[in-house]
Each structure stands twice: as C-alpha cells, then as structure tokens.
Amino acid sequence: MSTPAAAPPTVINFTVDGRQLSAPPGTLLIDACKRAGIEIPAFCYYEGYSLQAACRMCLVEVEKMPKLQTACTLPVMEGMIVRSETEQLTKARKGTLEFLLTNHPLDCPVCDKGGECELQDMVFRYGAGESRFTEMKNHEPERQWSPVVFYDPARCILCYRCVRACNEGMGVGALGITNRGVLSEIAPNGGDHLDCDECGACIDICPVGALTSNTYRYKTRPWEMQHVGTVCTHCSNGCKTTLGVRNDEIMRGNNRDRSGINGEFLCVKGRYGFDFNAHEERLTSPMIRINGKLEEVSWSKALGFVAEKFKSVSAAGGKFGVVAGTHLTNEELFYLQKFSRAGLKSSNIDHVRSGDFVTLLDAVSGNLTSLATADDLYNTKAALVIGADLSQQHPFLAFQLRADVRHHKAKIFTVTPGPVREAKYSAASVVVPEGQEFDALNNLTEQLKGEKELVILFGDSIKGQRVRDLVAWAGTLGIPVKYVCLVDYSNSRGAMDMGVMPNLLPGYEADPHPGMSVKQMLASDALDVLWVVGENPLRETKLASKNAFVVAHSMFLDETASTADVVFPSASAYEKNGTVTNVTGQVQRLKAAVRTMGTKTDLEILGLIAKEMGMAVEIGVWSHDVVFKEIHKSVRGYNVPLPILITGGAAVTNPVNGRVAVDVLVDEIRSAGDTLFTSGSLGRYSKLLTSVPEFPGALYKR
C-alpha cells in the first residue's frame, strides 16, 4: 500500500514565550505574534509593505538557531520555539536604541511626535537612557520640501517606511535615500522639493518626528486633542479620517488606528483638506436680500421669511425646484426629498449627477452579487478601469488596486483617454480618445476571458445605453464580473439612494409624478422658488427664471449663495452627525468633530423651516437618528446591520434587485473631473489644496 503524498500543511504550530500559537504557512513571525497579542518592537517593519530588515529592533531568540533572528523576515515554522522577551534581547534592543540615539536629537519636548513617538516609546521601555557616545552629533538643518512636508534629517532613523509607503502604497516614488552611512538621508525627487501627491502618507508612517506636516507642526501636543473618527467629505471613496480636535479647532486629520475601509490610507484632501472649515469667509449668520443687498438677520427672521414665502408659493400652486448637495448626509437628503415631495408636493428635486448608477442597477438586475465593495478591489484577481484617472479622481480605489497587485498579483487593465499611473503596473493599458473607451474594449476581450473574475470600474463616459452594452459585453466574458460606477463626491451615491432624483423615490422606486432635473429647473422660466441645499448649481449656469426666489444653504458666499434671496449658513460635514454612502455603496457614520458658531446643520435648518410652515408632524422629527431609523426601515438596501455602523464600521448596503424602469437623462451625467487637488466648489476654500505646487493638477498626465 503506497502512502499518499502529504498535503502541504494549512496551519503551522509554534511556541512563543511558552504560549502555543498557530498561523497559516508563510506568516511572518512578527505578524503571528501581533495577532496573538505579543508585541515585537520594530521600526522598519510595516504591515503591507516590502520587508526592509533595517532596524534590528525585532530580534527574537529561536531555539536551535545560533543567532538572534529578525522576526520581521522569519516565517513561522512547525515546532519553532521562540522567546520574545529575554535578558539577551533586552540588551540587544537597548544596544540598537543606543545606536539610534547617537545621532537622534533629544528634542522630544518640542517635537511634534513627542507623546506618540515609537522611538520614544521604545527608549521608555528598554531604557537606553545613557549613551557611551560622546562625539558630536551630525546635525543637518531642517528642510521644507513642499507646503505640506518638512524633513528633519537629524531625527530620521532611516527605517525606509516613507520610501516604501510612497513607492509601493502610493505608486509615486517621490522619496529615496541618498548618501551612505552616517550621512544617509531621505531625498525628495525634485532635488530640493517634492513633486508628488502631497498625500502626507510619509509623515504619518514616520515612526519618529523626522517628517512633519506644515499644518500641524508646533501647534499642539497629541494628548491635548480629542480624536473624532468621521468620514472625509471630499471625494466619493468614503475614507475614514480621524480628526484631531482641540478647542473646537481641527488640528489634523489622519487614520492611524486603521479604522474604516481605508485603513491608514488618506490622500491630501482627507489628511489636510479640512481647513475650509475654519476659512475666514465661512458664513456664520443667515442673510436676507434687502434692497438688493444681502444683510445679516437673525435665524428666526430668516426661517420665518422663508417659511412664509414657501407657504404662499405653495398655496398659489407655484413651482418649486430643489437642488441638493452631494456632500449632505443621507438623513438630510432623505428629509429634504420628503420635504419636497410630501411638504411642497413637488418632485422637482435633484442633485448634480456624476455617474450613471441608475442604469447600472437596471442592467444588472437579477444579479445580487454584481456590485463591488472596497474590499473586492483589494481581493479581485483582475480589474478593468474604464475612462477614469483613478489615482487622481478616486485615490483610495487606486490604492486598493495597487495593494491588490502587490499582495495578490492582480491584473489591472485600463482603457482611458490618457496615460494613467495604473499603466505602470497594469497587464494592459489602452489609450483612446475620450468617448471611444467602450469600442476599445474589444481589444481586451480575449485577454479578459482568461481571467478568473473581474471588477469593472467605469467613469462618466459610460452612461445610458453604453452601460447596458458594457454589461452585455461583460456577460460574454464568461467570468464573474462586479461593477463600480464611479461618482464624484462624498455622498453622490447617497443622493441617488435617498431618491434625490426627479423620477426616483428612495430605494430606486419610480416616482409616479416625475419632476424636473437640475438642468430643467435652471432652464425653466416658470420656476418660482429655487431651493439650493449645499450645492453650487449657478457656478457656471445662469438661472433662467428672473423672478425665482432663491434660497441657499451654504458654507460660503459662492456663485449661488451670492445671488440668493436668503442664505442660511450651514454646518460642514465635519460638524454633522449622520451617515454617508460611498462610491462602493458602503454606509458610514459621520461624527461631529467641531462646531462653528452661528451655523446649523442642514437637517436642523430643514426641520426648522418645516416647523415654521407647520408641517413638522408630517415630515417628521429632524434628528439624525430618528431619520436614519426611517431610512433603515423604509429605503431599499438600507436595512444594514446596525452594530457595524454604531462601531464606526462601513456597512455594505444590500444591492437593490429588480428593474429600475426610468428614463435616465444621460446629458446631465458629467463628472466634474476633480483631481487630487480640487474638490468642486468646496476645494476652493481649502488654502492647503490650492497652495501645493501641483494644484490644480491634471487628469491623465502620469
């Protein structure tokens, strides 16, 4: 009888500090220990990036191995017996720290990192308090590489984390190491400056205070801040950003606790683009146009004035038009459409559309697994990007794909109107003139048929019939396909889900009395009231109706607010509670981090107008949790598990299954084409975004 060949083990058993542990084969010892709650100190090792083995901090004792081993490069092996804290190891780590401190200045009292510095923590733990090194420290002056990044070479411990984060994580490769030995230092790609995404990932990943950000440096101590996890309000990717807040002021944004779908990833907008919140042009008082001039009035006067006007127009059977912003919360959008439909008896409600998700839903109806989540982008074996400069427009989705390529050898295909960063690591990259993306897909058909699965991400050049064609074409590939319909802003998807569309009710039910779209409202000369909530539709278009009464909720006196008859100063997304839905249909909670005196959230403004009009009972309580309860109960797809939301996670909305039989106004779907450094009307009020040399950036350049 022959014995069958032993199957490769699926689990490896080993011992660390007397504890029996197990992990899948190939797991690095440092990771396996971390999962078991055993911390092995390391500066250079960073989960998800390539191994460096430069710092010598993670040394452990392994039985039968003569020398100390680096846990960051050692895969677990069957029967391995490891000790992670012994006298010998303490001595070794202490020695390493003593070496690091030969050149590292002890300026912790003024260093930004003081209090959350990994080197400080390790010296505290191992107590390398005395140094045998009495020579002069090699001190180089601090340098500013960009409006965001400062580098202090003396503090740098050369762990290469920033280099790898920039190279591998961001795909930019703006950082390198120059010189040798004691003279080594990090060098930027522009000689004396950075030419990059300005994402600040290098700053956040720095274990010491060598890389610091201009927005945060020397402003506060880490322990003086409250840390509020909320969702970035710029693009549609829905990255969690943890705002460091002190005295009602946002000091910084990062996500070091890796909560949220994005882990630690943030782009320049999520990390630094919060400064619009404290912009000096922020509106803080309601205004009414009196004798042609906007004048500040009290809240009660402005609310009463608007309510009276709405009531009289409504009584006279006048025409309302409501334009909702794509940065509002789901609760606000739901409440607003209810206000419009039930209160004002008008379905003239819309948002500025940037992707044809509606047609996609209709085209894939009957297939419950056809919408990709952010996780799918990291796990898929192949992805196809059509007509979008992902690294510029959807930085987190691009980051997921890069990680997928690094960790899972995924194949990326791009069909774009210009060269994109993804081309560098793609299996095939096709450049075609705008509008011809769909026709170019045929070149890839054969290649894609050989893949096991595919996620298709498509931009605004695929809309209407094209979406159906795309789904039909993907059907011919004979492999499982999932889709992401790319949209522009933090709650563009939520606006559609919440029925902020003239022909669709919440949950994509057809509206029996369809109303006017944004374009139609602006072009209609019979409009009596234009109510703009957190949007800037008059940025490029003029309102056709001369006598329309314009009400605007706005943070700034933009093109729309400055022509309005009444302006309500609204709170920003960082001052709101509620939920938003990202481009991949994942709902996350917004948490109010700060307050700006004089402003109110849009939900509160809506509720107060309803109350003034005597319709509060009909439209409902304007508290975000009450409105969410209603959304959760009544909107298709939103009966998501609440524990996920409450604990700050991202709940995937259930796919809406079934036909969405409405006409889609294809002409109104157009992406604003924001780059990493622009963010619609909002981006103009972020001084940081407009100050980086890369501003405004261009799509399809890299």
Partner: protein, 161 residues
C-alpha cells in the same frame, strides 16, 4: 543624450549580461562607463540612465549618492586614488597621500587648475597584498614609493606637454 560610438556600444552591450526584463541591473555599469566619457555624473546623465533602465531619476540618484566612485563633481583626466586604509597605511600610504597633496597642491576630491588630475583618498582599493597602492583611473600601481609615485605623476603631466 549622445555618447561616442565606443561608449554607446559599451552601454548597449551591458544588457546582454543580465536576464531579460532586468534593465535596472545596468544602472551602475552604465553610470561608470558614461562617467568615464563625461568625467562626472551630470543631471542629464542621471535622467538618461533612468530612462534607459526604466527606473525613476531618484532611484539613480540614490545609487550615485551611495557609491563614492560615482562623482557628481568634475573629475580630472586622471583620477588618482591613494589608499590610506590599514594595510596601505602601515606600508606608508599616509606618506604617499601627504606627498601627493603637497606636490599637486590639492586635497581630497579636488582637481588641479588645469583639470588634469583629481585626487581622492580612498578606503581600501582591494590590493592589500601589494600595499601600498595607488590607482590611476582603472590602473593599479602596487608597492608604491614616493619615487614611483613621482614618476607616475611626471608621466601623466608629461603626456600633456
């Protein structure tokens, strides 16, 4: 960037030494050979090598910064390296170095006014068995004495006259 046909051929030949798809392997030899022709590593050269080897200019900069034999300053027609590491030091390397600097009137990593000779004090040229050693370009001179060194420098300077 254009090189002389000989250099160009040398640069092209490098590829054959490495497996296909490993273009970046050629960064160091390419820089070396090009430096021989140009007398230094220029920014233009860095960009050229980066493009040829399909890496970023910064990655080439990293290599140039790391290796002391790649010079971003102009080198002399003859780059004379005097070893003062332990074996050579014991055999009189330090005296050789002192003599050379005095005779030429230049120091470490400096170049004579006529651009003929540049000088570098190096750590181990790998010829300890024949110490002390002086390297002129790629040419090794073993068991050096001050007399032999003078002859060498004479011959370099004479060639020009």
């Amino acid at each position: 960037m254009t090189f002389t046909p000989e250099t160009e051929k040398r640069l092209q030949d490098i590829w054959s030494r490495y497996p296909a798809g490993r273009k970046r392997s050629a960064v160091i030899p390419m820089l070396m050979y090009a430096q021989d022709e140009l007398g230094m590593v220029t920014q233009e050269l860095i960009a050229e090598v980066a493009q040829r080897c399909e890496v970023s200019p910064l990655q080439v900069e990293e290599v140039v910064g790391y290796y002391s034999m790649l010079n971003k300053q102009k080198m002399g027609k003859h780059h004379v390296q005097v070893c003062t590491n332990i074996a050579c030091l014991l055999m009189g390397g330090e005296e050789l170095w002192q003599h050379t600097t005095k005779r030429l009137g230049i120091g470490h990593k400096q170049i004579t006014a006529d651009g003929l000779i540049s000088l570098e004090e190096v750590e181990c040229a790998g010829a300890c068995s024949w110490a002390p050693c002086v390297v002129d370009g790629y040419e090794y001179h073993h068991h050096m004495t001050i007399e032999k060194l003078d002859q060498l420098l004479d011959s370099i300077q004479k060639k020009v006259q």
